[in-house]
């Protein structure tokens, strides 16, 4: 092929504007790839979090809301479900295990979960990985607490430290503290890349104990119990926020879900986490689409920038085209030169953009893990992404038809003459 080396030499001759064009396209491609990648990683990370739970049962609410407050600590439960319901559910034939938990307290912005020791044995994330203690052990005494990896790291906690929990999950400043009941940290969990890293775990009994005398939402003077007093009390919970359920067979999930939803004693909602996530993605899909559309527009802007560069060279290249015509180049070949140049520019931009995206991903991975608990790998683009990139390459070449058509008409009209 005669034209490709010619086009390459011509581009090299204008390397400065070529470089700028390629960088512009590369940035837009990197943005598009990263937006898509982060979206996928968010989805994946959410799936990782719920991968070990077959069913989540809470008081009657919308499935997405239940999912958000029971797993991701987003929003609050409006209602609890009774301990009797938990007991009945736990004894159901299809239920392998059921871990109840109570929410509502926090510690310096991190969520406190009152649960049973079974939680540490049952909870699974990311394709069946169990929770592991980086240091210490699960809670045993009433006023012992286990903290997630990021809680410990960000607040500088070690096992043996004493902490005070706060009532409610709102703004930390206005919160009332459970200062009568200091907790001792007995265990710190390994990082998981899930909301577990940002949570503290106490027993359900402790959760009940620190709320004695708080029935109205604020501490009634003198109604609280001393820690030692509490240890002697019968602290069986009255209610819990929600229950993680593992089934003996996944096939039973739909059946049990229906049974729970139709439970007569209490208004309940049971969700299959995966299905509820799908529903969540349908809601967030609009925002994701908007982000992708914005990225696509940025790519279009990058390609238009290339068009500007190609068009701006048209006049200075008129002589070049006349020379090529005199040498016997057909108008179609001269138009082809411009399309080849556009293809080379776009392709270089795409490749550079992919490299840039990979570099940014690698650079941002620790920050994303730390700030958002997102594990962002530096894997290669998936097949469908290559499809999109192919479409962008095609779009670049189609855009080049504008200057190519112009060159075609001009070379036909100009012949060997150079008009200016």
């Amino acid at each position: 092929m005669t034209l490709v080396p010619l086009a390459l030499r011509s581009l090299r001759n204008r390397w400065y504007s070529v470089l700028l064009t390629v960088v512009t396209i590369a940035i837009s491609i990197a943005l598009l790839v990263l937006v898509d990648r982060v979206r996928n990683e968010v989805h994946e990370s959410f799936y990782r979090t719920v991968s070990g739970v077959d069913l989540i049962v809470g008081a009657r609410t919308s499935p997405v809301q239940l999912l958000l407050y029971s797993v991701f600590g987003i929003g609050d439960a409006t209602n609890n479900l009774s301990w009797e319901t938990y007991q009945e559910l736990e004894s159901a034939r299809q239920v392998d295990w059921a871990v109840p938990f109570a929410l509502g307290d926090s510690h310096r912005g991190y969520r406190v979960m009152g649960t049973t020791g079974e939680f540490f044995d049952r909870f699974r994330y990311s394709a069946g990985q169990p929770l592991v203690f980086a240091d210490g052990r699960a809670f045993d005494d009433l006023f012992e607490v286990v903290v997630g990896h990021r809680v410990a790291r960000n607040l500088g906690y070690e096992t043996g430290d004493g902490i005070i929990l706060a009532h409610g999950t709102g703004s930390t400043r206005l919160q009332q503290q459970h200062e009568d009941h200091p907790f001792t940290i007995t265990g710190i969990l390994e990082p998981t890349g899930t909301p577990v890293d940002q949570s503290l775990y106490i027993s359900l009994q402790a959760h009940k104990a620190i709320h004695i005398g708080w029935e109205t939402g604020t501490p009634r003077i003198g109604a609280q119990v001393e820690p030692d007093e509490a240890r002697e009390m019968d602290l069986e919970p009255d209610s819990v926020t929600a229950i993680y359920v593992g089934l003996t067979s996944r096939a039973a999930a739909f059946q049990l879900q229906r049974a729970v939803n139709e439970y007569r004693e209490e208004a309940l909602t049971a969700i299959l986490p995966g299905v509820a996530l799908q529903e969540l993605w349908r809601i967030t899909g609009v925002a994701e689409q908007a982000l992708l559309i914005v990225s696509a527009i940025v790519v279009a802007a990058g390609l238009l920038g290339m068009l500007t560069v190609l068009l701006s060279t048209m006049n200075e290249r008129r002589r070049e085209m006349a020379i090529l015509r005199a040498l016997g180049a057909r108008p179609g070949q001269i138009a082809g030169l411009l399309v080849i140049e556009a293809a080379v520019l776009t392709l270089a931009g795409i490749v550079a953009g992919l490299v840039l995206a990979l570099v940014l991903q690698a650079a941002a991975a620790p920050v994303l893990l730390d700030r958002f608990g997102l594990i962002v790998g530096t894997s290669l683009p998936e097949l469908y992404q290559f499809g999109i990139l192919g479409l962008i390459l095609a779009a670049g070449m189609i855009i080049a038809l504008v200057p190519a058509g112009m060159a075609y008409r001009r070379t036909v009209a100009d012949g060997m003459q150079v008009r200016s």
Partner: protein, 230 residues
Amino acid sequence: MNLLSIDGLAYAWPGQSPVVGIDHFSMAPGERVFLHGPSGSGKSTLLGLIGGLLVPDSGSLRFLETGLNRLSRPQRDRFRADHMGVIFQQFNLLPYLSVLDNVLLPCRFSRARAQKAGDGVLAAKRLLMAMDLDGDLWTRRADALSVGQQQRVAAARALIGQPELVIADEPTSALDTDRRANFLALLFEQMAATGSALLFVSHDRSLADAFDRSVSLDAINHPAGPEAAA
């Protein structure tokens, strides 16, 4: 047999009055013709017609027994690539290519000339050498050369692959008198070697003596018809 014969050729740019009206003009193979014409006399249009870039409104244009005006545009483009070399007044070269690559360009667009040139690089080097361009210039970018050197590179390019006709449109007007003579001498020498004919257009009559024949464009071109000239 004529290399080129023009009969009753007429051309007008769309929407304008005729600029070319030539009753008869011909060139023999290897002939060196000086075509004198002031600017605006329609010589660029005539060269465009001979080069096959323009199609005459009427008349015939035969080149090597091929009716140029009967060919399709792609055929004319190929015909030009195969049989003609062109030298412009100035800026003949693609600035981003090396001198050697510029000379080799016709071989890229015409298989016939590539074949006639044989080893293209060798042929190009031989021509450059003959045009007094030393080896250290060959790999330089074309725009690194002086105007006189560039014109000699253009001549080498026009001659590679031994085209039957070289069309030169005021190739010496950018050169001073000494280099003009030198350029012509080198050009003629190589024309003789390749056997190409030369149609040399200029407004500078002082060059005419060196040619086989000198023709005034005004004398043969009567765009408004023969009787208007009389």
